[in-house]
Structures are given as C-alpha cells and as structure tokens.
C-alpha cells in the first residue's frame, strides 16, 4: 500500500494487507499521536488496509507557546 507521511512529507510503499494498528507499529508510530485516513475518511485501529490502498498517516501533535 501507498503510505503518505508528514513532517517531513514523504511517501512509502508498505506490504499489505495490514491492520491499522499493525501499520503504525511497523512504522514505530504512537497511535496517540497519529490518525490514519483512507479516501478522506478516518479508519479505526482494527480496520484492515488492503495492499492497493492509499492511506495518509497524519501527525496530530503541535507545539509552541501561547
């Protein structure tokens, strides 16, 4: 599957099918800090992603002072 990552923006090709939680674990990404989006829709952690899916892994952490 094609996986879009941010900060910095880059694309990876990962073997599928895989469940969302397995994809995050494979990439060593914390589920608390990321959302997984397929075709503009959020997917829950046990969802099975197909080998031909394109998914975005979106970081949700922002920082700085107010």
């Amino acid at each position: 599957m094609k996986v879009l990552l941010r900060n910095p923006r880059r694309e990876l090709e990962i073997d599928g099918p895989r469940r969302v939680h397995a994809l995050l674990a494979h990439l060593e990404l914390n589920r608390e800090s990321h959302l997984v989006i397929r075709n503009g829709t959020l997917v829950a952690s046990d969802e099975l992603l197909a080998a031909d899916d394109t998914v975005e892994i979106r970081p949700v952490i922002s920082g700085g002072a107010w």
Binding site: N7, A44, G64
Partner: protein, 316 residues
Amino acid sequence: MKCRVCRQAAIIDVPRHNANFCGPHFLDMCRRQVIKAIDDYDMMTKDDRILVAVSGGKDSLAVWDMLIDLGYQADGLYVGLGIGEYSDISGEYAKAFADERGLTLITVSLRDDYGYDVPTATVASRRVPCSACGMSKRHIFDKAAIDGGYTVLVTGHNLDDEAAVLYGNTLRWELEYLARQLPVLPARNGFPKKVKPLVRLSEREMAAWCVVRGIDYLVEECPIAAGNKHLGFKEALNKIEADSPGTKTAFYLNFVEKVAPLLASYALGDDVTLQPCTRCGSPTTAEVCAFCNLVEKSAAHEPVPVELITGRGRRR
C-alpha cells in the same frame, strides 16, 4: 470495531474512554466534553461576545467551529507572525474557514502593524523563538479583546497542551505557574477573561473532529517550534498514555480539581500593582510594558529570514 452508541462501523477508537465511535457519535462525544468544560468551569454564556484566537491549525478552527455549532456568538482573531511560508499558509486556512461560514475574522500582522516579525524578534530580543512569539500573541489577543469589547477570549488549548505544560511545571515545581494553570482566568486589572473549552479533549480527538467535519487546516508543524521542550513533554506523556489510557486526563483534570485550589496563594500577580503602559496603555508593572520593549528592539532591527532561526537548537 463497532460504535459504542449505534453499533455501526466505528471510524475511531478512543482508548481513554474505552470506546469506539462512528462519525456522528464521535462528534456528539466531543460536543458533550466541551459543554461539560464550559459548564463546570463557568466559561461563558450565549450572551457573551466571544473572541477566538485562531491560528489556522486544528485546535483553534475546531473550537471556533464547535462554539458556532453550539450557538455561541464568536468572532475570530488571526495574528500574522511572519514565520515565512508557514504563516502565509496558516493565514489562508483561517481566512478560508471564516469566509466559507460567513464568520468575522479580525486580522493583525506583526510586520504590517508593528514593524517586525517573530524571526526578527527572536534575534533582536535574544529570546527563544517560542517566547517572543508567545509574548506577541498574548499581548495582541488581550488588546484585541479589550479594545473590541469582547467579554471572553477563547484559545484552542487542548488536554495534551495543558498536560504537557503541567508536566513541565511539575518537573520543576514551578508553584507560581502551577497556581495559574487553570481552564479559566477571570478578567482582572485590564486583562480579558480567558477560557480553554478544549481541556477535556485530546489533540488526536481535535484532529479527528476536523477530518470528520471536513475542516481544512494546516497540518504542518511550525518550523520554529519543531524540537521544542513542549513537544518533548507531549511525546513522553503519549508514551505513558499508550500503555495506560486515561493517564493524561487524570493527570490534568485531577490537578485542576484537587491540587490547584491548594496552590491558590502562590498565583503570580494577584498582589502586584499594575499601571497602564505609557506607550500602549496595556496593564504592566513597569513604565513601558514588555511587549512595547520587544516592538522597539525588533522594529529597529534588520528583518531576519525564518531560515536563520530554524534548527538553532532543541531547547526552546
């Protein structure tokens, strides 16, 4: 996974609630959390004139969207910080959000209105970048709220923001800062009432709110903030949260309920006499306020490109 409410397919799991939700019921959960925060801490009423500090990121757009959705009267305030392309794009997201919904967005530009930007202020004042930025924003938010006759100033601080600041202040036992780390700061001495309606919602939930509601926001991180201490604290807490869901919620909300009242006498500024700044009229302990000093130093300095500030070091 099934939605806890309707048993349809879930789109998000929320481990801290040990629950999964479909889109509509996830939004309902977020609304309930905001309503509870507003009610529990007496944040505002439907009669208030509300000003939302908007950055173009997920949290500020989400809180503005929620308040309008819940029937509050809320205008937005965007401050152009002059952080290169990052600021240009963030301003476009804020403006597009307001235009699409027919909302009022007040815009202030540090460069156009005050003659400096954050990269230049960082060098001119020898402050760490997030300090110069934070001071500028706080002053402009306060002034815009007071001058515009707004009764409440809303910021998009979420549970992760508050837990990370609490973590940092606790590691150093900064009692004065801890005493003031509350979801509501009442109006006093020429400062507006400030409230944080998202304190019961996590950063991940706010990003999910935006995706479900179709809100476009700036996903990229501020190039100057990258690597700062605050982000390191969030990362540390999220490692704990992944193993023990609900820890961030308990850490922050139990602090507010059980510990903050014990620290009230340490609150900075309650016994300090403030007077109007001789230049801008804002309340200050000195003749000239810290913001006007920053403006004076920064506006006289040659403009500094953002590239000179990024990657200066990790401790900000």
